[in-house]
């Protein structure tokens, strides 16, 4: 049988890869993909803990996280489309109007 620590370790690695992607990538869509990867790493933690403790609550939370991710993808991609219309670029270094 696969121990619980393997699942949690894999989840930590995937989350780290996603976080590194957010820091080193400059394309807004790729950064967004890395955020989805981090959401999925947390989902793996919730599902595996739910399975190992026999509590259905974790899987319900993953279900809610998936709906939030779908809503986030729709709104985020709409923002990206409107940024691209205004600036003809998706480089996040060029979108710095809110910077002090």
């Amino acid at each position: 049988m696969v121990p619980l620590s393997w699942y949690l370790g894999l989840s930590a690695m995937l989350f780290t890869i996603g976080a590194v992607g957010v820091f080193i990538k400059r394309n807004a869509i790729t950064i967004f993909l890395c955020i989805e990867l981090m959401l999925n790493a947390v989902n793996l933690t919730l599902v595996s803990l739910s399975g190992f403790f026999g509590d259905v609550g974790g899987q319900l939370f993953v279900f809610i996280v998936m709906t939030v991710a779908a809503a986030e993808a729709a709104v985020g991609l709409a923002i990206i489309i409107s940024i691209f219309r205004n600036r003809e670029s998706l480089n996040v270094d060029e979108v710095d109007t809110l910077k002090l």
Partner: protein, 171 residues
């Protein structure tokens, strides 16, 4: 039960390799396609912890709906390739490997107490075990009814928000 470990290792390696491929690709389209590989192998891993419903939803909603939306937007915008990064603080690269090693050591230390915890055998009717559609549906429409209903408001807000944001000025 060595074959379960082999299955886990296969899918874990696929998940991590495609996750790293997201970072290595310059084109966002290839990054999106390798994220689909990660999502599919995570779905297989959900099956190994007896979360059948979530595994199916992962493929239908994530790999199906959300990633199609991403690829649609990437194709629509004809996104340019990622520019090579400019390094601002070169000294930090020598600190990165010791810090990464420290974090991995910390992870092993934290996970040590549960290194032998394995999946318990669930008592009772297997058709009503945790992770089946029956168990998820029963909990969702009894104890968790309010979060479920609030989710519909969230989806409506996202729908209106996406339409307002992506609309052209003056329409």
């Amino acid at each position: 039960m060595w074959h379960e470990k082999v299955l886990f290792i296969i899918f874990a390696v696929i998940a991590i390799a495609s996750a790293l491929n997201i970072l290595l690709q310059r084109s966002p389209l290839y990054s999106a396609l390798s994220l689909i590989g990660t999502l599919l192998s995570l779905s297989a891993l959900y099956l190994t912890v007896h979360a059948q419903f979530i595994a199916a939803v992962q493929i239908v909603v994530y790999a199906g709906a959300i990633m199609v939306l991403f690829i649609f937007v990437i194709m629509l915008l004809n996104v340019p390739k990622d520019q090579p990064q400019i390094e601002k603080q070169k000294g930090l690269r020598y600190l990165a490997i010791p810090f990464a090693g420290l974090m991995i050591a910390e992870m092993f230390y934290v996970l040590r107490p549960i290194r032998l915890t394995t999946l318990p055998i669930q008592p009772g009717n297997p058709e009503q075990a945790v992770g089946t559609t029956w168990s998820i549906g029963t909990a969702l429409f009894t104890d968790y009814l309010l979060p479920f209903e609030v989710t519909s408001v969230l989806i409506l807000m996202a729908l209106v928000g996406a339409m307002v944001l992506a609309r052209r000025e003056g329409d």
